[in-house]
């Protein structure tokens, strides 16, 4: 079953044709990795999936992006969409407030006021993000005091708290050291059981380690998409072959 389905998507930043006729299906409860050299459009595609590109004024989009058979660009409620399709960013972006308030932010934005219920969800989310043990006795301290890896796991907890179905990750470990990266990758292995994950990554090793499907992008085109094992071991396209073997990129 496919969670997300992109059909003939074209995206322009002003004159710049950033995504060229992309069609891709994202299977439910699997990890799909988007790889390719810088500027190939992989992050742009990720940001069309929860309509974050709406924040960029000069963007023009044609084609359709279906989330559970509904075109998200056809009058779909954007806030509702973003709750169901969460996002974790390249650079951890905890809000300048306490750890607790960070995780509760999205819930409170939806009007949840019940302290007990909030406490429960905050704890569950922090546990799911493998952060609870490290922060349980300082939930009221500023989130900005956490280490980079902890901040990124906090952002994941914040996303999980909304009980999304899909989590989009935009190079979530590119600013982290190897140990923090390893922790996040372990976490993703847990998360894939409950969520559909789409991750943009610069690291081919990371894509190999964590993803079920891999899509290779090249200058705004989707060159190849299939099982990770196959894309890395028997690439069909010359360019994929060149990229995964490290000849360029």
């Amino acid at each position: 079953m496919n969670k997300l389905e992109v059909n003939n998507l074209n995206l322009f930043y002003g004159e710049n044709h950033a995504l060229k006729d992309i069609s891709i299906k994202i299977p439910n409860r699997q990890v799909t990795a988007l790889i390719g050299p810088s500027g190939c459009g992989k992050s742009t595609l990720l940001r069309t999936l929860n309509r974050m590109n709406d924040l960029v004024p000069s963007v023009k989009i044609s084609g359709e992006v279906k989330f559970e058979d509904q075109d998200i660009y056809a009058g779909h409620d954007v806030q509702q969409l973003r709750m169901r399709v969460g996002m974790v960013f390249q650079k951890a972006n905890p809000f300048p407030m306490s750890i607790y308030e960070n995780v509760a932010f999205g819930l409170k934005a939806q009007g949840m006021r019940d302290k007990k219920q909030l406490d429960k969800i905050v704890e569950e989310s922090l546990r799911s993000a493998a952060l609870w043990d490290e922060v349980q006795d300082r939930l009221d301290t500023s989130a900005l005091g956490l280490s980079g890896g902890q901040q990124q796991r906090l952002c994941i907890a914040r996303t999980i708290a909304m009980e999304p179905e899909v989590i989009l990750m935009d190079e979530p470990t590119s600013a982290l050291d190897p140990i923090a990266t390893h922790k996040i990758e372990e976490l993703m292995d847990e998360l894939r059981k409950k969520f559909t994950i789409v991750i943009v990554t610069h690291s081919m090793n990371q894509a190999k380690r964590i993803s079920d499907k891999t899509a290779f992008f090249w200058m705004g085109e989707l060159v190849e998409h299939g099982d990770t094992h196959q894309v890395f071991n028997q690439p069909q396209d010359q360019r994929t072959q060149g990229y995964v073997s490290g000849e360029f990129g």
Binding site: N50, M52, L55, P57, Q79, Q80, L81, R82, M83, G86, M87, F89, K91, N93, F95, P96, M97, F105, G106, K108, A109, Q110, S142, L144, G145, C155, R158, T159, M162
Partner: protein
């Protein structure tokens, strides 16, 4: 050509001299006012009513008028200014026609001499709207005067809030209004508070537009529709008729109070900014 080392030394010496002169002048002015005024500041001076002649004359009604003026001006200008800044940074399309026009207007407003605002206020608020010489007419005039400052500094504070906060808020499905209210505004708060406190200094500092709109009556105003004389207007008025030593003393004592007020305000901005910084980092 001088040797590079000599050049370095010369440059260092001239920047050091410039900085020293600045500080010296500041200290000199403050010392001059305080040394002439401080000895004439007493509880009696602060708490007594003003009488043109008589030893027990004070400035209590001017203090009350000043407080009224500051409070009312901020009550009008701060919400309007902050809302305008929010519109410009969060809602209006960056670089669109309306933003350009608004920015141009705001920058032009900031450059107009304050006496021109006074003339406008006297014609429009005092006469046309029929408010008379009153605290309200003065506060409205001063609001127009400080709006550009509040808008620009608030805008800067809002623009300094990282884009990643907005993205983070929206990515959680939060509405725009919630994200602005609960995330962006609190993050920009130190800057906004600083801007508001600095504009208090501006309100206290103005004289010409104030006496043209709020008048110079030395009684304590009973409502915002009464005329009132602020401290700065009072000082201006005193300096117009300095005949006796007593009048000189009164002028310096009033100036002392003004300087202390401004110093306290500046200290408050520093403390508030430092507190916010500590709380969020």
């Amino acid at each position: 050509m001088l040797k590079r080392e000599t050049q370095d030394k010369l440059l260092f010496a001239s920047t050091w001299a410039a900085a020293s002169i600045t500080i010296l002048f500041l200290l000199w002015v403050v010392w001059h006012i305080l040394s002439n005024g401080l000895s004439h500041v007493s509880w009696e001076f602060v708490s007594s009513a003003y009488t043109r002649i008589g030893e027990s004359s004070g400035i209590w009604s001017m203090i009350v008028s000043t407080v009224y003026m500051v409070a009312l001006t901020l009550a009008i200008a701060a919400p309007v200014g902050i809302m305008t800044a929010i519109y410009l940074t969060e809602y209006a399309k960056a670089g669109s026609r309306i933003v350009q026009v608004l920015r141009f207007c705001i920058e032009s407003l900031a450059g107009i001499p304050s006496i021109v605002y006074g003339l406008f206020g006297m014609t429009f608020f005092v006469t046309t709207l029929g408010l008379g010489f009153s605290i309200l007419a003065g506060a409205l005039t001063l609001s127009v005067l400080i709006l550009p400052v509040i808008i620009r500094t608030t805008e800067e504070a809002l623009m300094a809030v990282p884009m990643s906060y907005r993205e983070g808020g929206y990515a959680l499905g939060s509405s725009k209004i919630y994200t602005i209210w609960r995330l962006i505004l609190p993050s920009a708060m130190p800057g906004i508070v600083t801007s508001v406190i600095l504009s208090i200094g501006r309100v206290i500092g103005e004289s010409a537009p104030v006496f043209l709109t709020a008048g110079m009556v030395t009684k304590i105003p009973e409502s915002v529709f009464d005329s009132g004389r602020t401290l700065t207007v009072h000082l201006y008025k005193l300096t117009q008729e300095l005949f006796t030593q007593h009048e000189w003393d009164q002028a310096y004592a009033t100036a002392t109070i003004l300087i202390v007020l401004v110093l306290v305000l500046n200290l408050m901005t520093k403390i508030i900014a430092a507190r916010y910084n500590k709380a969020s980092h």
